[in-house]
Homo-oligomer: 280 residues x 2
Protein backbone atom coordinates (compact mmCIF):
# COMPACT_ATOMS: atom_id res chain seq x y z
CA UNK A 1 0.00 0.00 0.00
CA UNK A 2 1.28 3.49 -0.88
CA UNK A 3 0.18 6.34 1.40
CA UNK A 4 1.05 10.01 1.53
CA UNK A 5 -0.24 11.25 4.90
CA UNK A 6 0.87 10.86 8.49
CA UNK A 7 -2.67 9.94 9.56
CA UNK A 8 -2.88 7.04 7.13
CA UNK A 9 0.37 5.62 8.50
CA UNK A 10 -0.77 6.03 12.10
CA UNK A 11 -4.11 4.34 11.48
CA UNK A 12 -2.52 1.37 9.73
CA UNK A 13 0.17 0.91 12.38
CA UNK A 14 -2.38 1.15 15.19
CA UNK A 15 -4.48 -1.52 13.52
CA UNK A 16 -1.41 -3.78 13.29
CA UNK A 17 -0.44 -3.16 16.90
CA UNK A 18 -3.96 -3.97 18.02
CA UNK A 19 -3.45 -7.39 16.40
CA UNK A 20 -0.18 -7.78 18.31
CA UNK A 21 1.97 -7.52 15.15
CA UNK A 22 5.53 -6.18 15.30
CA UNK A 23 6.53 -3.35 12.97
CA UNK A 24 9.85 -2.57 11.28
CA UNK A 25 10.73 0.77 9.65
CA UNK A 26 13.20 1.37 6.82
CA UNK A 27 13.64 5.13 6.34
CA UNK A 28 14.95 6.01 2.86
CA UNK A 29 15.24 8.91 0.45
CA UNK A 30 14.03 6.63 -2.35
CA UNK A 31 15.61 5.75 -5.70
CA UNK A 32 16.07 2.40 -4.05
CA UNK A 33 18.90 0.01 -4.88
CA UNK A 34 20.11 -3.36 -3.67
CA UNK A 35 21.44 -1.77 -0.48
CA UNK A 36 17.96 -0.60 0.46
CA UNK A 37 16.55 -3.97 -0.60
CA UNK A 38 18.86 -5.70 1.86
CA UNK A 39 17.52 -3.43 4.65
CA UNK A 40 13.92 -4.14 3.69
CA UNK A 41 14.54 -7.89 3.48
CA UNK A 42 16.21 -7.91 6.88
CA UNK A 43 13.30 -5.93 8.33
CA UNK A 44 10.81 -8.34 6.74
CA UNK A 45 12.67 -11.28 8.27
CA UNK A 46 12.52 -9.73 11.76
CA UNK A 47 9.07 -8.08 11.89
CA UNK A 48 5.47 -8.98 11.07
CA UNK A 49 4.96 -5.79 9.05
CA UNK A 50 7.44 -3.41 7.41
CA UNK A 51 7.00 0.27 6.58
CA UNK A 52 9.39 1.90 4.09
CA UNK A 53 9.43 5.69 4.06
CA UNK A 54 10.47 7.34 0.80
CA UNK A 55 11.14 11.02 1.43
CA UNK A 56 13.85 13.24 0.00
CA UNK A 57 14.21 15.24 3.19
CA UNK A 58 14.90 18.92 2.43
CA UNK A 59 16.19 19.73 5.93
CA UNK A 60 19.24 17.49 5.57
CA UNK A 61 20.51 19.21 2.42
CA UNK A 62 22.66 22.33 2.60
CA UNK A 63 21.93 25.30 0.33
CA UNK A 64 24.49 24.24 -2.30
CA UNK A 65 23.76 20.53 -2.21
CA UNK A 66 21.78 18.30 -4.54
CA UNK A 67 18.25 18.43 -3.08
CA UNK A 68 16.60 19.42 -6.37
CA UNK A 69 18.69 17.03 -8.44
CA UNK A 70 18.43 14.06 -6.09
CA UNK A 71 16.98 11.21 -8.18
CA UNK A 72 13.34 10.24 -7.59
CA UNK A 73 11.24 7.38 -8.95
CA UNK A 74 8.41 6.49 -6.59
CA UNK A 75 6.82 3.94 -8.94
CA UNK A 76 9.97 1.89 -9.26
CA UNK A 77 10.57 2.30 -5.50
CA UNK A 78 7.08 1.06 -4.73
CA UNK A 79 7.60 -2.04 -6.88
CA UNK A 80 10.89 -2.84 -5.20
CA UNK A 81 9.34 -2.41 -1.72
CA UNK A 82 6.41 -4.68 -2.56
CA UNK A 83 8.69 -7.23 -4.14
CA UNK A 84 10.94 -7.25 -1.06
CA UNK A 85 7.93 -7.83 1.21
CA UNK A 86 7.17 -4.38 2.66
CA UNK A 87 3.56 -3.81 3.69
CA UNK A 88 3.39 -0.01 3.49
CA UNK A 89 5.27 2.70 1.63
CA UNK A 90 5.02 6.19 3.13
CA UNK A 91 5.79 8.90 0.58
CA UNK A 92 4.87 12.27 2.09
CA UNK A 93 5.11 15.64 0.36
CA UNK A 94 7.48 18.09 2.12
CA UNK A 95 4.55 20.14 3.45
CA UNK A 96 3.04 17.03 5.03
CA UNK A 97 6.23 16.71 7.07
CA UNK A 98 7.12 20.34 7.78
CA UNK A 99 5.02 23.30 8.88
CA UNK A 100 6.18 26.68 7.52
CA UNK A 101 6.74 27.95 11.09
CA UNK A 102 8.59 24.84 12.26
CA UNK A 103 11.23 25.85 14.79
CA UNK A 104 12.16 22.66 16.65
CA UNK A 105 15.69 21.31 16.26
CA UNK A 106 17.21 17.98 17.30
CA UNK A 107 20.97 17.58 17.35
CA UNK A 108 23.44 15.00 18.56
CA UNK A 109 26.13 17.55 19.18
CA UNK A 110 29.06 15.43 20.27
CA UNK A 111 28.92 13.15 17.22
CA UNK A 112 28.01 15.62 14.49
CA UNK A 113 31.08 17.85 14.36
CA UNK A 114 33.57 15.70 12.45
CA UNK A 115 33.50 13.61 9.26
CA UNK A 116 30.46 14.45 7.09
CA UNK A 117 29.21 16.87 9.75
CA UNK A 118 32.26 19.10 9.29
CA UNK A 119 31.62 19.26 5.54
CA UNK A 120 27.82 19.37 5.69
CA UNK A 121 26.99 21.56 8.71
CA UNK A 122 23.18 21.34 8.58
CA UNK A 123 23.05 17.71 7.44
CA UNK A 124 22.78 15.74 10.67
CA UNK A 125 20.37 18.18 12.30
CA UNK A 126 18.06 17.50 9.37
CA UNK A 127 18.62 13.75 9.68
CA UNK A 128 17.83 13.79 13.41
CA UNK A 129 14.71 15.86 12.82
CA UNK A 130 13.29 13.65 10.09
CA UNK A 131 14.22 10.38 11.81
CA UNK A 132 12.64 11.61 15.07
CA UNK A 133 9.48 12.39 13.18
CA UNK A 134 9.42 9.08 11.30
CA UNK A 135 9.99 7.15 14.52
CA UNK A 136 7.17 9.10 16.19
CA UNK A 137 4.84 8.57 13.23
CA UNK A 138 5.52 4.87 12.67
CA UNK A 139 6.41 3.89 16.28
CA UNK A 140 8.27 0.81 15.00
CA UNK A 141 9.76 -1.94 17.14
CA UNK A 142 12.92 -1.83 15.01
CA UNK A 143 14.36 0.62 12.49
CA UNK A 144 17.00 -0.27 9.90
CA UNK A 145 19.88 1.85 8.66
CA UNK A 146 22.81 1.07 6.39
CA UNK A 147 26.35 1.01 7.74
CA UNK A 148 27.45 2.92 4.65
CA UNK A 149 26.19 6.03 6.45
CA UNK A 150 28.28 5.14 9.48
CA UNK A 151 28.16 8.54 11.16
CA UNK A 152 24.41 8.75 10.63
CA UNK A 153 24.00 5.33 12.23
CA UNK A 154 26.11 6.30 15.27
CA UNK A 155 24.18 9.56 15.65
CA UNK A 156 20.77 7.91 15.41
CA UNK A 157 21.73 5.26 17.95
CA UNK A 158 22.84 7.99 20.34
CA UNK A 159 19.73 10.09 19.74
CA UNK A 160 17.44 7.14 20.39
CA UNK A 161 19.29 6.33 23.58
CA UNK A 162 19.44 9.94 24.82
CA UNK A 163 15.76 10.62 24.09
CA UNK A 164 14.60 7.26 25.55
CA UNK A 165 12.91 6.28 22.30
CA UNK A 166 11.55 2.76 22.59
CA UNK A 167 12.95 1.34 19.34
CA UNK A 168 15.83 -0.92 18.42
CA UNK A 169 18.18 0.58 15.81
CA UNK A 170 19.60 -2.11 13.52
CA UNK A 171 22.68 -1.43 11.38
CA UNK A 172 23.07 -3.41 8.16
CA UNK A 173 26.27 -4.12 6.18
CA UNK A 174 27.26 -2.13 3.10
CA UNK A 175 26.06 -3.70 -0.16
CA UNK A 176 28.51 -3.36 -3.06
CA UNK A 177 28.53 -3.68 -6.82
CA UNK A 178 30.44 -6.71 -8.13
CA UNK A 179 33.56 -4.54 -8.60
CA UNK A 180 33.46 -3.19 -5.05
CA UNK A 181 31.74 0.22 -5.40
CA UNK A 182 29.34 0.77 -2.49
CA UNK A 183 25.74 0.98 -3.75
CA UNK A 184 24.40 4.53 -3.62
CA UNK A 185 21.55 6.43 -5.23
CA UNK A 186 24.16 9.04 -6.11
CA UNK A 187 26.12 6.55 -8.27
CA UNK A 188 23.59 7.44 -10.94
CA UNK A 189 25.30 10.83 -11.28
CA UNK A 190 28.56 9.23 -12.50
CA UNK A 191 29.73 9.24 -16.13
CA UNK A 192 31.35 6.04 -17.44
CA UNK A 193 34.84 7.37 -16.68
CA UNK A 194 33.80 8.54 -13.25
CA UNK A 195 32.14 5.19 -12.54
CA UNK A 196 35.51 3.54 -13.17
CA UNK A 197 37.37 6.16 -11.12
CA UNK A 198 34.92 5.70 -8.22
CA UNK A 199 36.48 2.32 -7.53
CA UNK A 200 39.27 4.24 -5.80
CA UNK A 201 37.06 4.47 -2.68
CA UNK A 202 36.77 0.76 -2.00
CA UNK A 203 40.30 0.11 -3.33
CA UNK A 204 41.90 2.62 -0.95
CA UNK A 205 39.90 1.24 2.00
CA UNK A 206 40.89 -2.32 1.11
CA UNK A 207 44.55 -1.29 1.09
CA UNK A 208 44.15 0.32 4.52
CA UNK A 209 42.37 -2.73 5.88
CA UNK A 210 45.12 -5.03 4.58
CA UNK A 211 47.78 -2.81 6.16
CA UNK A 212 45.93 -2.87 9.48
CA UNK A 213 45.61 -6.63 9.31
CA UNK A 214 49.38 -6.68 8.81
CA UNK A 215 49.74 -4.73 12.05
CA UNK A 216 49.63 -1.06 11.06
CA UNK A 217 48.29 0.91 14.07
CA UNK A 218 49.43 4.48 13.52
CA UNK A 219 46.55 6.58 12.22
CA UNK A 220 48.84 8.88 10.21
CA UNK A 221 50.28 5.91 8.36
CA UNK A 222 46.82 4.51 7.66
CA UNK A 223 45.76 7.95 6.46
CA UNK A 224 48.70 8.01 4.06
CA UNK A 225 47.87 4.61 2.58
CA UNK A 226 44.40 5.92 1.72
CA UNK A 227 45.38 9.42 0.59
CA UNK A 228 48.15 8.10 -1.69
CA UNK A 229 45.70 5.76 -3.36
CA UNK A 230 43.09 8.47 -3.85
CA UNK A 231 45.76 10.85 -5.17
CA UNK A 232 46.65 8.26 -7.82
CA UNK A 233 43.20 8.66 -9.40
CA UNK A 234 43.03 11.90 -11.44
CA UNK A 235 39.20 12.17 -11.40
CA UNK A 236 39.04 11.77 -7.61
CA UNK A 237 39.64 14.28 -4.82
CA UNK A 238 39.45 13.38 -1.13
CA UNK A 239 36.90 15.40 0.88
CA UNK A 240 37.96 13.77 4.14
CA UNK A 241 39.80 10.69 5.39
CA UNK A 242 39.17 9.92 9.05
CA UNK A 243 40.24 7.23 11.50
CA UNK A 244 37.97 7.64 14.53
CA UNK A 245 36.79 5.79 17.62
CA UNK A 246 33.83 3.77 16.37
CA UNK A 247 31.58 4.93 19.22
CA UNK A 248 32.61 8.49 20.04
CA UNK A 249 33.69 9.32 16.45
CA UNK A 250 36.66 11.17 17.91
CA UNK A 251 39.93 10.95 15.89
CA UNK A 252 42.49 8.49 17.24
CA UNK A 253 46.27 8.64 16.90
CA UNK A 254 46.81 4.93 17.45
CA UNK A 255 44.38 2.10 16.80
CA UNK A 256 43.79 0.55 20.22
CA UNK A 257 40.01 0.05 20.22
CA UNK A 258 37.49 -0.52 17.44
CA UNK A 259 37.84 2.24 14.86
CA UNK A 260 35.77 3.52 11.99
CA UNK A 261 37.83 4.29 8.90
CA UNK A 262 35.63 6.60 6.84
CA UNK A 263 36.20 8.56 3.66
CA UNK A 264 34.33 10.99 1.44
CA UNK A 265 35.65 11.51 -2.06
CA UNK A 266 34.56 13.77 -4.89
CA UNK A 267 34.54 11.89 -8.17
CA UNK A 268 33.96 14.68 -10.65
CA UNK A 269 31.21 16.69 -8.97
CA UNK A 270 29.71 13.68 -7.20
CA UNK A 271 30.52 13.19 -3.54
CA UNK A 272 30.66 9.53 -2.51
CA UNK A 273 31.30 7.96 0.88
CA UNK A 274 32.55 4.60 2.05
CA UNK A 275 33.93 3.11 5.25
CA UNK A 276 34.81 0.04 7.23
CA UNK A 277 34.98 -0.69 10.93
CA UNK A 278 38.18 -2.34 12.12
CA UNK A 279 37.69 -4.43 15.24
CA UNK A 280 40.75 -4.86 17.42
CA UNK B 1 2.67 2.49 42.80
CA UNK B 2 6.03 4.27 43.10
CA UNK B 3 8.73 3.25 40.61
CA UNK B 4 12.22 4.52 39.92
CA UNK B 5 13.23 2.97 36.60
CA UNK B 6 12.28 3.57 32.98
CA UNK B 7 11.72 -0.14 32.43
CA UNK B 8 9.17 -0.40 35.22
CA UNK B 9 7.18 2.46 33.70
CA UNK B 10 7.34 0.94 30.22
CA UNK B 11 6.17 -2.48 31.41
CA UNK B 12 3.25 -1.04 33.34
CA UNK B 13 2.14 1.23 30.50
CA UNK B 14 2.41 -1.62 27.97
CA UNK B 15 0.23 -3.77 30.20
CA UNK B 16 -2.36 -1.00 30.38
CA UNK B 17 -2.30 -0.42 26.63
CA UNK B 18 -2.76 -4.11 26.01
CA UNK B 19 -6.00 -3.82 27.99
CA UNK B 20 -7.03 -0.87 25.80
CA UNK B 21 -6.70 1.65 28.64
CA UNK B 22 -5.87 5.30 27.93
CA UNK B 23 -2.96 6.91 29.75
CA UNK B 24 -2.43 10.48 30.95
CA UNK B 25 0.92 11.96 32.03
CA UNK B 26 1.50 14.80 34.47
CA UNK B 27 5.20 15.76 34.41
CA UNK B 28 6.29 17.58 37.57
CA UNK B 29 9.37 18.49 39.56
CA UNK B 30 7.62 17.40 42.73
CA UNK B 31 6.91 19.27 45.97
CA UNK B 32 3.37 19.12 44.73
CA UNK B 33 0.74 21.73 45.54
CA UNK B 34 -2.88 22.37 44.66
CA UNK B 35 -1.86 23.48 41.17
CA UNK B 36 -0.36 20.05 40.47
CA UNK B 37 -3.35 18.40 42.10
CA UNK B 38 -5.64 20.18 39.64
CA UNK B 39 -3.55 18.78 36.75
CA UNK B 40 -3.68 15.27 38.17
CA UNK B 41 -7.40 15.46 38.78
CA UNK B 42 -8.04 16.68 35.26
CA UNK B 43 -5.86 13.86 33.91
CA UNK B 44 -7.74 11.33 36.04
CA UNK B 45 -11.05 12.62 34.70
CA UNK B 46 -9.91 12.22 31.08
CA UNK B 47 -7.84 8.99 31.13
CA UNK B 48 -8.14 5.45 32.45
CA UNK B 49 -4.72 5.57 34.08
CA UNK B 50 -2.50 8.50 35.14
CA UNK B 51 1.27 8.61 35.53
CA UNK B 52 2.84 11.46 37.51
CA UNK B 53 6.56 11.96 37.05
CA UNK B 54 8.42 13.56 39.94
CA UNK B 55 11.88 14.59 38.78
CA UNK B 56 13.88 17.70 39.61
CA UNK B 57 15.44 17.90 36.16
CA UNK B 58 19.06 19.11 36.37
CA UNK B 59 19.29 20.05 32.68
CA UNK B 60 16.72 22.82 32.98
CA UNK B 61 18.60 24.67 35.73
CA UNK B 62 21.38 27.13 34.93
CA UNK B 63 24.67 27.05 36.85
CA UNK B 64 23.58 29.77 39.30
CA UNK B 65 20.02 28.60 39.77
CA UNK B 66 18.34 26.68 42.57
CA UNK B 67 18.77 23.03 41.50
CA UNK B 68 20.33 21.94 44.78
CA UNK B 69 17.94 23.96 46.91
CA UNK B 70 14.79 23.07 45.01
CA UNK B 71 12.41 21.57 47.59
CA UNK B 72 11.85 17.79 47.52
CA UNK B 73 9.45 15.55 49.46
CA UNK B 74 8.68 12.37 47.55
CA UNK B 75 6.67 10.79 50.37
CA UNK B 76 4.26 13.69 50.61
CA UNK B 77 4.16 13.86 46.79
CA UNK B 78 3.32 10.19 46.56
CA UNK B 79 0.45 10.59 49.01
CA UNK B 80 -0.97 13.55 47.10
CA UNK B 81 -0.76 11.63 43.79
CA UNK B 82 -2.50 8.58 45.24
CA UNK B 83 -5.13 10.72 46.85
CA UNK B 84 -5.79 12.55 43.58
CA UNK B 85 -6.23 9.24 41.76
CA UNK B 86 -2.90 8.72 39.97
CA UNK B 87 -1.97 5.09 39.27
CA UNK B 88 1.81 5.39 39.00
CA UNK B 89 4.44 7.80 40.29
CA UNK B 90 7.75 7.78 38.39
CA UNK B 91 10.59 9.17 40.48
CA UNK B 92 13.87 8.48 38.67
CA UNK B 93 17.35 9.35 39.90
CA UNK B 94 19.25 11.73 37.61
CA UNK B 95 21.51 8.92 36.37
CA UNK B 96 18.47 6.87 35.36
CA UNK B 97 17.50 9.72 33.05
CA UNK B 98 20.88 10.93 31.79
CA UNK B 99 23.96 9.09 30.56
CA UNK B 100 27.26 10.81 31.33
CA UNK B 101 28.03 11.05 27.58
CA UNK B 102 24.60 12.36 26.63
CA UNK B 103 24.96 14.76 23.72
CA UNK B 104 21.49 15.07 22.20
CA UNK B 105 19.74 18.43 22.35
CA UNK B 106 16.15 19.40 21.57
CA UNK B 107 15.25 23.05 21.16
CA UNK B 108 12.26 25.03 20.02
CA UNK B 109 14.33 27.91 18.79
CA UNK B 110 11.72 30.40 17.65
CA UNK B 111 9.85 30.40 20.97
CA UNK B 112 12.71 30.11 23.46
CA UNK B 113 14.54 33.41 22.98
CA UNK B 114 12.29 35.86 24.86
CA UNK B 115 10.61 35.96 28.29
CA UNK B 116 12.09 33.33 30.63
CA UNK B 117 14.34 32.05 27.83
CA UNK B 118 16.18 35.37 27.67
CA UNK B 119 16.85 35.23 31.41
CA UNK B 120 17.44 31.46 31.66
CA UNK B 121 19.36 30.54 28.48
CA UNK B 122 19.65 26.77 29.09
CA UNK B 123 16.22 26.37 30.68
CA UNK B 124 13.95 25.47 27.77
CA UNK B 125 16.48 23.17 26.12
CA UNK B 126 16.44 21.18 29.36
CA UNK B 127 12.65 21.26 29.47
CA UNK B 128 12.37 20.01 25.87
CA UNK B 129 14.89 17.26 26.55
CA UNK B 130 13.20 15.94 29.67
CA UNK B 131 9.68 16.25 28.28
CA UNK B 132 10.74 14.43 25.08
CA UNK B 133 12.12 11.64 27.22
CA UNK B 134 9.08 11.44 29.49
CA UNK B 135 6.74 11.37 26.49
CA UNK B 136 8.85 8.61 24.92
CA UNK B 137 8.97 6.63 28.16
CA UNK B 138 5.30 6.91 29.11
CA UNK B 139 3.81 7.24 25.57
CA UNK B 140 0.68 8.87 27.03
CA UNK B 141 -2.47 9.73 25.09
CA UNK B 142 -2.52 13.13 26.83
CA UNK B 143 -0.02 15.15 28.85
CA UNK B 144 -0.96 17.97 31.23
CA UNK B 145 0.90 21.22 31.86
CA UNK B 146 0.01 24.31 33.88
CA UNK B 147 -0.68 27.60 32.17
CA UNK B 148 1.41 29.30 34.84
CA UNK B 149 4.43 28.21 32.81
CA UNK B 150 2.91 29.77 29.71
CA UNK B 151 6.09 29.86 27.63
CA UNK B 152 6.85 26.24 28.53
CA UNK B 153 3.35 25.23 27.43
CA UNK B 154 3.68 27.05 24.08
CA UNK B 155 7.12 25.50 23.50
CA UNK B 156 5.97 21.97 24.31
CA UNK B 157 2.93 22.27 22.05
CA UNK B 158 5.22 23.39 19.23
CA UNK B 159 7.77 20.65 19.89
CA UNK B 160 5.09 17.96 19.89
CA UNK B 161 3.68 19.29 16.63
CA UNK B 162 7.08 19.72 14.93
CA UNK B 163 8.32 16.26 15.97
CA UNK B 164 5.02 14.53 15.09
CA UNK B 165 4.64 13.16 18.60
CA UNK B 166 1.32 11.36 18.94
CA UNK B 167 0.11 12.97 22.15
CA UNK B 168 -2.40 15.68 23.04
CA UNK B 169 -0.95 18.50 25.16
CA UNK B 170 -3.51 19.88 27.60
CA UNK B 171 -3.01 23.25 29.29
CA UNK B 172 -4.65 23.81 32.70
CA UNK B 173 -5.55 27.12 34.40
CA UNK B 174 -3.35 28.71 37.06
CA UNK B 175 -4.36 27.76 40.60
CA UNK B 176 -4.01 30.56 43.16
CA UNK B 177 -3.91 31.00 46.90
CA UNK B 178 -6.99 32.70 48.40
CA UNK B 179 -5.21 36.07 48.25
CA UNK B 180 -4.26 35.71 44.56
CA UNK B 181 -0.65 34.46 44.65
CA UNK B 182 -0.13 31.79 41.98
CA UNK B 183 0.70 28.43 43.57
CA UNK B 184 4.36 27.51 43.12
CA UNK B 185 6.77 25.13 44.78
CA UNK B 186 9.11 28.12 45.04
CA UNK B 187 6.65 30.02 47.28
CA UNK B 188 8.16 27.95 50.06
CA UNK B 189 11.34 30.07 49.78
CA UNK B 190 9.47 33.24 50.85
CA UNK B 191 9.75 34.85 54.29
CA UNK B 192 6.54 36.22 55.82
CA UNK B 193 7.29 39.74 54.52
CA UNK B 194 8.19 38.42 51.08
CA UNK B 195 5.03 36.32 50.99
CA UNK B 196 3.04 39.52 51.47
CA UNK B 197 5.14 41.40 48.90
CA UNK B 198 4.66 38.58 46.37
CA UNK B 199 1.04 39.64 45.96
CA UNK B 200 2.38 42.38 43.71
CA UNK B 201 2.52 39.86 40.83
CA UNK B 202 -1.19 39.07 40.68
CA UNK B 203 -2.12 42.63 41.69
CA UNK B 204 -0.15 44.19 38.85
CA UNK B 205 -1.58 41.71 36.34
CA UNK B 206 -5.11 42.37 37.56
CA UNK B 207 -4.58 46.10 37.06
CA UNK B 208 -3.34 45.47 33.53
CA UNK B 209 -6.26 43.18 32.77
CA UNK B 210 -8.73 45.78 34.05
CA UNK B 211 -7.09 48.47 31.92
CA UNK B 212 -7.27 46.21 28.85
CA UNK B 213 -10.92 45.49 29.54
CA UNK B 214 -11.41 49.25 29.63
CA UNK B 215 -9.91 49.44 26.15
CA UNK B 216 -6.16 49.89 26.66
CA UNK B 217 -4.42 48.40 23.59
CA UNK B 218 -0.98 50.04 23.54
CA UNK B 219 1.62 47.60 24.86
CA UNK B 220 3.84 50.37 26.30
CA UNK B 221 0.92 51.67 28.34
CA UNK B 222 0.07 48.18 29.59
CA UNK B 223 3.74 47.69 30.44
CA UNK B 224 3.70 50.91 32.48
CA UNK B 225 0.63 49.86 34.47
CA UNK B 226 2.46 46.71 35.52
CA UNK B 227 5.92 48.21 36.07
CA UNK B 228 4.51 51.07 38.18
CA UNK B 229 2.70 48.60 40.40
CA UNK B 230 5.80 46.40 40.81
CA UNK B 231 7.94 49.48 41.52
CA UNK B 232 5.59 50.38 44.38
CA UNK B 233 6.63 47.22 46.26
CA UNK B 234 10.08 47.69 47.86
CA UNK B 235 10.84 43.96 48.21
CA UNK B 236 10.04 43.27 44.53
CA UNK B 237 12.09 43.81 41.38
CA UNK B 238 10.79 43.06 37.90
CA UNK B 239 12.88 40.54 35.93
CA UNK B 240 10.76 40.99 32.81
CA UNK B 241 7.33 42.29 31.79
CA UNK B 242 6.24 41.12 28.34
CA UNK B 243 3.17 41.55 26.16
CA UNK B 244 3.54 38.99 23.36
CA UNK B 245 1.50 37.22 20.68
CA UNK B 246 0.06 34.21 22.51
CA UNK B 247 1.17 31.78 19.80
CA UNK B 248 4.46 33.10 18.39
CA UNK B 249 5.53 34.73 21.71
CA UNK B 250 6.80 37.72 19.71
CA UNK B 251 6.37 41.14 21.37
CA UNK B 252 3.44 43.19 20.09
CA UNK B 253 3.14 46.98 20.01
CA UNK B 254 -0.64 47.00 19.90
CA UNK B 255 -3.04 44.36 21.16
CA UNK B 256 -4.88 43.17 18.05
CA UNK B 257 -4.86 39.39 18.52
CA UNK B 258 -4.78 37.20 21.62
CA UNK B 259 -1.80 38.18 23.75
CA UNK B 260 0.06 36.66 26.65
CA UNK B 261 0.92 39.15 29.38
CA UNK B 262 3.71 37.51 31.35
CA UNK B 263 5.92 38.71 34.16
CA UNK B 264 8.81 37.43 36.22
CA UNK B 265 9.57 39.21 39.48
CA UNK B 266 12.27 38.76 42.08
CA UNK B 267 10.82 38.91 45.57
CA UNK B 268 13.91 38.97 47.72
CA UNK B 269 16.05 36.29 46.09
CA UNK B 270 13.09 34.24 44.89
CA UNK B 271 12.08 34.56 41.26
CA UNK B 272 8.34 34.13 40.71
CA UNK B 273 6.31 34.16 37.50
CA UNK B 274 2.69 34.84 36.65
CA UNK B 275 0.68 35.63 33.53
CA UNK B 276 -2.70 35.90 31.89
CA UNK B 277 -3.86 35.52 28.33
CA UNK B 278 -6.05 38.32 27.01
CA UNK B 279 -8.40 37.19 24.26
CA UNK B 280 -9.44 39.90 21.83
Amino acid sequence: MLVHTINEVREQVKAWKKEGLSVGLVPTMGYLHEGHRSLIEKAVSENDRVVVSVFVNPTQFGPNEDYDDYPRDIEKDYDLCSDAGASLVFNPAPDEMYFPDRCTTVNVEGLSKGLCGAKRPVHFGGVCLVVSKLLNIVTPDRAYFGEKDAQQLAIIKRMVRDLSMDVQIVGCPIVREADGLAKSSRNTYLSADERQAALVLSRSLNKAKAAMEDGMRNASEIYKVISDEIASEPLAKADYIEIVDSETLQPVETVEKDVLVAIAVFVGKTRLIDNFTYRV
